[in-house]
Each structure stands twice: as C-alpha cells, then as structure tokens.
Symmetry: C2
Subunit: 283 residues, 2 copies
C-alpha cells in the first residue's frame, strides 16, 4: 500500500517532540505531518519548526488549531481574534495552507447555543480575509455532538459548510474527521456538497471504539479497531474529489503511552484498510 497520501497528525504520537515526530515520519516513509501549536512552540516557534520539517523532506499537512470563537464579551472576542491571527501567521510560516478551527463550546454559564453559533459565524467572517491574504485556509472542524457544550458548537458537516460557504473556498473550508461525523445520516450528501464546492480542507481518520472512556475526548482508536466503516468513508471522500492528505489523528491515553515508533508502525500497518482490497495482480 502506497503511503504517498498519509500524514501523521503529531498528537497521535504525543510523547514525541516535534523533532522526534519529524524524524519518525521521515524514517518510516510518511511524507507529511500535521502539527500542533504547543509542539511548535516547544520546538522554538514556527520558523525553526518549518526548518526541521523542510530539512527532513516532509510537508506540513495542517496546523492544529485555531478557533474558540464563542466568547460573548468584547475582551474574550478580541483575544480570540488576536490568537487566531497569530495562528494564521504561524500556519503560513510553517508552509501549510490549512489551519484547523475547533470553534469552541458554550461560554461559562451560558445556555445560548444559537448565540454562540452566531458569534462563530461573525468571527470567521472577520478572520477569513486575513487567512486568504496569508495563503491559509480556515478549516472548520465539526466536532462530535457530545462535545457541543464544552468544545465545539459546530456539530455537523452540513453546519460547517453553512458557515464556510459565504466565503471564498480558498479562505474557508471544512475538516472531515471520521470520528466526529461517521454517525451522520446526512453524511454522503454533505461530503458530496463539500466536494462540489472545493471545501474539503482536511480529511482525518481514526476509529470509534467502545466503551467511551471517562474523558470522551480520549476514546479514539487505531483505524480498524472500532465501528466506523472507514473504507466506505474514504471512498466517499475520494468520490467528492479529495486527493489531498489522509491525516491520522488519534486521542487515546493508552496509545499515547506506547512508544512513538510502535504507534507509527500500527498507523502504517492499518493504512491499507482505508482503501479497497488490492486485486491479486496488484500484489
């Protein structure tokens, strides 16, 4: 199985520093890596991280993450705008065109979900031209509805597209993350819609495993270990025209406790499960 579209989101090998993850990918033949801002900061900032990645011959598939746009007070709103402008700049420095946005949950004590959603739309409108000017695309990530209260009031791909479509496709796209969207009965038509509009900024995979742990954020499994038909999903995303990276992003304490090389080896070993079985003469 060719690895030419595989990207390792570095959270998957969380115990690794950025330098270690870059080296691990290069040695394993993984051509791309998704970076996190905290790891970039630890590595000495965007310019140094970019140099590390470039010298290893890798591509940065995405930067995680901007967002958290739901603050209701002017100070919180201003802070969010400033932080996202910095994130846009950092993405540009790293040479990636994709800044993943986790939009944020309800502000402390608030039950006003429509209000929080409206503020996300407003701040994306403010940020989009800045992203475009920097050659970066805001990639709105719908999170699983179980994170609606505390992490992301954008809960479906259709809703993310509603937020993206008022803006040029080069400025605002969406993330299709298997873990967050696999359950959605509207998924096939929304993936097709995203493809028609050129809005698929990132495709991320991992599996839905049970039971959910106490911290539901950390319940994701390696491709093939859970309940998602990832082959069917990858086929849908490909049919929608996505030819870009397939980023493996796993949040899981047990996987994080394993040595990075072991985790990466499992990622590689499972990659073929995303594609139709090879016909005998392909072997």
């Amino acid at each position: 199985m060719s690895l030419d579209r595989l990207s390792l989101n570095q959270i998957t090998t969380r115990s690794w520093s950025l330098a270690e993850a870059v080296r691990g990918c290069a040695e394993a033949g993984v051509p791309a890596i998704g970076l996190w801002r905290d790891k970039v900061a630890e590595a000495g900032g965007g310019a140094r991280a970019a140099k590390l990645v470039r010298e290893a011959g890798l591509t940065v598939s995405s930067l995680c993450r901007g967002g958290f746009l739901t603050a209701a007070d002017p100070a919180g709103r201003r802070a969010a705008l400033e932080d996202n402008l910095r994130a846009i700049e950092e993405a540009a420095t790293l040479g990636t065109d994709t800044l993943v946005l986790v939009v944020g949950g309800l502000p402390e004590g608030s039950r006003d979900l429509p209000g929080a959603r409206a503020r996300v739309a407003e701040l994306i409108a403010e940020l989009a031209p800045h992203a475009g000017a920097a050659g970066v695309r805001l990639a709105i990530e719908p999170l699983h509805p179980m994170f609606c209260a505390d992490r992301a009031v954008v809960s479906t791909l259709g809703q993310a597209l509603d937020l993206a479509e008022p803006h040029p496709a080069g400025q605002v796209g969406v993330v299709v993350d298997a873990y967050h969207v696999w359950w959605d009965p509207a998924l096939p038509e929304q993936i097709a819609r995203a493809g028609r509009g050129g809005r698929i900024a990132a495709y991320q995979v991992c599996d839905w495993t049970l039971p959910l742990p106490a911290d539901a954020l950390l319940g994701r499994g390696h491709v093939g270990d859970g309940h998602i038909d990832l082959r069917a999903l990858t086929t849908l995303v490909a049919a929608a025209g996505h030819t870009g990276w397939i980023e493996v992003e796993i949040f899981n304490e047990t996987i994080w406790a394993a040595p990075g090389h072991e985790t990466l080896a499992t990622v590689l070993a499972r990659h073929h499960l995303l594609f139709p079985p090879a016909s005998p003469h392909d072997r």
Copy 2:
C-alpha cells in the same frame, strides 16, 4: 406552577418499584407516569400494573421500550418482531398509546451503518399496522449520536421523521428527548416539521451535565443542572402544537442512589424552569 402536564418516567426513581413510583406520583400530585417493561414485569405484568396505576388515578404516558431492530440474521429479526409485538400488546394493556422505540445499534462485528438503518425501516413497516390495530403508536426515539454504534442508529430527529412519515401519523411518531437532540442545528425546523405532521408522540426532558461519566448513558442531570436551554426547547415543542405530557427521564447513578421522594421533589421543584417566568400578577 401547574403540574398538569408533568409525567415521571419511572427510570428517574429507579430504586422504586412500580407500586412505589405510582404511590409517589399520586401523593405528589403528578398526574402521569412513564413505565418500563422490566418494572411492569416485576409488578406482575401489564394487567396488574394497569390496575395499580388506574386505582391511583394516574395516566400512563408511555411505555419504554420496544425496538432493537437491527439484527441482520433471520432469527434475530424474528425475535425482534415478536418482542415488539409483545410490547405493543403490553402498551395497550397498560392503556398508553405510546410505545417508545430505541432502534438498536450496529450488530456485533458489523460496520454497515446504512444496512442497519435500512433494517430499522423494514421492521417499522412490519410493526406499524400491528401497532395501529392495537391503538398504540410506535414512538421512534433518536438517540444522541454518541450511542450510534451500540444503542441506536437513529441519531437525529430528522432521520426519525424520515422513518415515521411513510406511515400514518397514528401508527408511527417520534420522541423529542432533550438530552439526545439539543445540540442539533436543524432542531427548530425538525420540531416544526414533527408538529405539522402530528408526529410528536412524546417529549422527554433532563439536562446535559459535564463531565460525561465513564458510562455515557448515565450522565443526565435534573432540569436546570446543565447546559440545555430547556425553556427554549419546551417553547419550540409547544409552538409545534404539542400539548401532551412532559416526561422527566433521568439516567444518573447519583440520582438513582437518592431516595425516590427526594428525586421526585427535585423534579417538581424544577418543573417551572421549563416555562416562561410567570408575570407578577400570575403569582
């Protein structure tokens, strides 16, 4: 605050037997109760339970639950049909017109979500006329998407309505359960759609509290303790024409460990939070 539309779903006071829950409701002035089949069985079956409820002057708002319709093998399918026919009969015996259906998750080892969903549609089509003949309505309950793999492949109100609408409104309706649907960006239009079609068979409330416990089934809170704008939701459901019961259904180990009378007192004390604040001259 009038209690005239309040129903206690008996799972909320799980430590109580059916007889105790009936007595508790009657003493507290709660006019209706939602029953569970295991509790009905413990009470000696449908006829005896019906007599207990009737003698206390209560109404049975719903019976929980039928469903689990996703088996792929003929034996599993037959068993599901038979069990649901018994549940329909039990609902009729209890004098309720509402049988709540939790449709079931993916069969063991299967990742075929569209297949499971198609089987739900097929079995509902088989069951609907039997329900209608018994004067019982199948109430399809969309469960929160976090239960898609293991409990219910019906994850949104829109999807539940898609399943219900091929059948007469008297045979198949939907459950609007705040916990399961509150996050849905399409909720206002789907509730309006349900109302227009006369499809709201049950309205259930509780709150979304954080953090989620290890068993996500058991993370529900009393009205007012969490993140859902239950007043806004109740207003939407009322605007859609629902004048029926408001059933309080809470799954929570801590609440279950409390004495039934205490839990019921909290349910009563919170009920006013579902409605617009009274104007001064209503007091």
